[in-house]
């Protein structure tokens, strides 16, 4: 599917996990609901990030201890975020995502 290739391309180009591209494409191209798009995006990111992390690990660039410092609290965060998302209307999820995209664009344009 084109979305996988596109997401991978952006991952390779910008060093991001790809969710920024996967979620809008699932919604706008495949007509996913916002919640479904975010859930499915996370499943895709498992594969993408695992492959990329393994590759970076071979080069010795991954610090497992630091990954845990950030990643362990993040696992609690994602449980909270997903629970919170179920209480929001899908429209609010779309607005949140649009805001994240605008913030990303601004951060990219600023030097």
């Amino acid at each position: 599917m084109a979305i996988g290739t596109a997401a991978g391309a952006f991952s390779g180009l910008f060093g991001v996990g790809g969710g920024t591209v996967i979620v809008p494409l699932l919604i706008l191209w495949l007509g996913y609901g916002e919640r479904e798009a975010t859930g499915t995006s996370l499943a895709a990111i498992v594969v993408i990030a695992a492959l990329a992390a393994a590759g970076q690990g071979l080069y010795g660039n991954v610090d497992i201890g630091n990954a845990l410092v950030v990643g362990a609290p993040a696992m609690f965060g994602v449980v909270a975020g997903a629970a919170l998302q179920q209480r929001l209307p899908e429209r609010a999820v779309a607005f949140l995502f649009a805001a994240l995209l605008v913030a990303t664009a601004v951060a990219l344009v600023l030097p």
Binding site: A6, G12, L13, G15, G18, G33, A43, Y59, D63
Partner: protein, 142 residues
């Protein structure tokens, strides 16, 4: 103190992941680079492992809520290495600033489209817009 700050940013990144379906790297990379003194390349690499944790737990939770189309997710993920190869070739051929501006423009296009779709679509996700709303006397419109 640096560890606390990094952990807080980690929690925030994970929350963002649960809310909008991204990995959280947008916060992990600065957390690792600023508070844990990793170089940009090492921070990005380490961030990927943290993203694996987030995406695993997040996909599991969202699956429980009925929000994951497993097959589509795996197809998108499995095809990504092809895209990574394309992306690496492009990134070596085009100036970095050009890429940043292109991605910024794309992000804005996506944002506008999502925004307009959300304004158009009815609040109830399963209410189909096939002609039933023409005489709607009661109930909120739009």
């Amino acid at each position: 103190m640096e560890y606390v700050a990094a952990a807080l940013l980690g929690f925030a990144g994970g929350t963002l992941g649960g809310l909008v379906g991204v990995g959280g790297g947008v916060l992990f990379v600065p957390a690792l680079a600023i508070f844990l003194d990793q170089s940009q390349i090492h921070a990005e690499a380490t961030s990927l492992l943290a993203i694996v944790f987030v995406a695993l737990v997040g996909a599991w939770r969202q699956w429980g809520y009925g929000n994951v189309r497993v097959r589509d997710g795996l197809v998108v993920g499995a095809l990504s290495p092809l895209g990574v190869a394309v992306g690496v070739v492009i990134s070596n051929a085009v100036a970095e600033r050009t890429l940043e501006l292109m991605f910024a423009a794309l992000a804005l296009v996506f944002a506008v489209q999502l925004f307009r779709r959300a304004l158009r679509s009815p609040t109830a996700p399963n209410s189909v817009r096939s002609g039933s709303g023409s005489s709607g006397a009661a109930g909120p419109h739009d």
